[in-house]
């Protein structure tokens, strides 16, 4: 057997890179909301803070524990949404969710794929339902924190449900 992963590996170079060198890692100050999300089936967890103003995610920081997929995905997500309007972050989140639920049949058009940038590397995860939740953990935490900061009717509890 060779020592390299197969070409269709879930573990794209980019994922390992983000795992080893996570972006926006740490606890930011000041912040408008902090959430803590856990994936009960595997124990992965993330604590995430956001700072929001004028409908824009000004800053975001996180710490977490778990597999490379959950940690790398949170890192990639952070790089994508910081500095973006909340609307756009939510759209990206929807697009990523669609990719994750595609079971390996990528449903996105070129524009959508471009928007996801590095996050496209997680496409292979969609074939493993047990791991999809890992890839979504950070995204769901971000949504929860944004909702909490915005003080919308949809509290973080309701959103936490989705990460189960």
């Amino acid at each position: 057997m060779s020592m390299s992963a197969p070409v269709d590996s879930m573990y794209q170079e980019i994922i390992i890179d983000h795992y080893k060198h996570p972006q926006h890692h740490g606890r930011i100050e000041p912040f408008d909301a902090e959430v803590h999300h856990v994936n009960p089936t595997c124990g992965d967890e993330v604590t995430l803070r956001v700072q929001i103003g004028d409908g824009v995610i000004h800053d975001l920081g996180w710490v977490g524990e778990g597999c490379s997929i959950s940690q790398a995905s949170t890192s990639v997500m952070s790089g994508l949404v910081v500095g973006k309007p909340v609307d756009e972050a939510m759209r990206l989140s929807e697009t990523f969710l669609a990719l994750m639920q595609s079971r390996g049949e990528n449903p996105l058009d070129e524009g959508e794929l471009d928007g996801l940038q590095d996050a496209v590397a997680f496409e292979g995860v969609s074939k493993y339902p047990a791991r999809v939740k890992c890839a979504l953990l950070g995204w769901m935490a971000m949504k929860g924190a944004v909702a909490e900061a915005a003080g919308t009717a949809r509290g973080s509890d309701a959103i936490a449900e989705e990460t189960r």
Partner: protein, 417 residues
């Protein structure tokens, strides 16, 4: 005589499969074992030529199906060396078998003649710290229903029961002692005789979870001397959807019913019902007919191979695996590190790499192992870890597959290096 593993592998069609373009190396038998063709055929043939509902029918197909179903009961009775065929109750899995007992015990509260099984405040239920959730949650729920106290025997750093604690934890107030024969998370084989003897000494009912023992070593319920013992079909190379509860007949005869319904009754009136003798009292509704029949085929297949030979084969695999894995930098074995009183299941962690990543990357090399808490979360809590990677072996596992695992771990470490 040792196992002819090459010949055995030909019995299992799935072993010819490739995964990610490489041959399958299936090291997840403790989770669920693969099925030999004879087991697959047993179900299919029943459906194609002899199927009907059992017990209720006087016609030919019904008689044939009943003979096959009750014949499977005979086979399982022989497999366990039960004193009577009526001591074998078919369930859907061992989880149901253990819940059956826990609910029957609480039903004893309103069943005349079942005093022996009643529990209340002050009474104790004892398990071990290494139980599978299926031998833990039912007893927690029973304690909640009855007000009894839930206790456990702790484990040491090597993943063995702290033997000196056995006499302390099991006391005169203990009514039920339920414990795992071989741990699915650690591989530990427990001192069954000591536990049974202690339970008997204090007058407690002893129950053995033999889910991980049944595929690997000879079981003789009369020699073991416990009161109840269960195992599950899919781990002994049988079909999914069927399990077994064995119980001493004199106890089963007094045990209140669990599920109510067709076939478990003696007579039914709108104003009240009486119940059948064991085993039928505990088999409400249409049973897992084809699955029980195929389970009979599976246990005969195991007996044919020889449980002693299986044990010896797996013992060698474990010895080799313990040695090779210990030599991999960063690998820590969770559970006994010596090949004494341990079965063919090895849990480990790899420094700095999450078990899910280890398992997933091994899968990409065709190697199927399990990652997680293995439904024994208290074990992980005990060792301060979130999860482990677990490799487990069966009758079809080869030394070369153990080597493939070790090579695979080197590759995984290289990627994350």
């Amino acid at each position: 005589m040792s196992l002819d593993v090459d010949a055995i592998r030909k019995d299992f069609p799935i072993l010819a499969r490739e995964v990610h373009g490489v041959p399958l190396v299936y090291l997840d038998s403790a989770n669920s074992a693969q099925k030999p063709q004879v087991v697959i055929d047993a179900e299919a043939e029943l459906y194609a030529a002899h199927y009907a509902n059992v017990a209720r029918a006087v016609h030919t197909l019904g008689s044939e199906a009943t003979a096959a179903y009750e014949g499977a009961r005979d086979k399982v009775a022989r497999f366990l060396n039960a004193a009577r065929r009526e001591e074998i109750v078919f369930t859907k899995n061992i989880s149901e078998a253990l819940n059956l007992l826990a609910y029957a015990f609480s039903n004893a509260a309103t069943t005349p003649g079942a005093e022996r099984f009643r529990l209340g405040p002050g009474d104790e239920i004892v398990v071990t710290e290494m139980e599978h959730h299926s031998n833990l949650v039912p007893w927690q729920l029973l304690a909640q229903r009855t007000g009894a106290t839930f206790k456990w025997i702790p484990i040491d750093d090597e993943g063995r029961l702290i033997e000196s604690a056995i006499d302390e934890v099991i006391t005169d107030r203990t009514k039920v002692v339920s414990f795992v024969y071989q741990s699915n998370a650690l591989g530990t084989i427990n001192p069954v005789e000591r536990l049974v003897a202690r339970a008997r000494a204090v007058g407690a009912i002893s129950i053995i979870d033999a889910a991980q023992a049944a595929p690997h070593l000879p079981l003789d319920v009369q020699a073991i001397g416990a009161d109840f013992l269960g195992f599950t079909g899919h781990k002994v190379y049988g079909p999914s959807g069927v399990g077994v509860l064995w119980g001493r007949y004199d106890l089963l005869a007094k045990l209140p019913p669990f599920l109510g319904g067709g076939e478990m009754i003696e007579t039914v009136d709108m104003t009240g019902s009486t119940f059948a003798e064991p085993p039928h009292r505990f088999e409400a509704g249409t049973p897992m007919i084809a699955q029980a029949v195929a389970l009979g085929t599976a246990v005969d297949y195991l007996t044919g191979l020889g449980l002693a030979d299986i044990r010896e084969h797996e013992h060698r695999l474990v010895g080799h695996a313990l040695e090779s894995l210990s030599a991999v930098p960063g690998v820590r074995i969770i559970g006994p590190t010596t090949n004494v009183d341990r079965g063919a299941t090895i849990s480990f962690t790899v420094d700095g790499i999450h078990p899910h990543d280890v398992a997933q990357l091994l899968d990409e090399r065709g190697i199927a192992v399990r990652a997680g808490h293995h439904c024994a979360r208290p074990v992980c809590v005990r060792y301060g870890i979130l999860a482990t990677t677990r490799a487990s072996f069966g009758v079809y596992t080869t030394m070369a597959e153990v080597d493939a695992l070790v090579e695979g771990l080197d590759a995984v470490r290289a990627m994350f290096g």
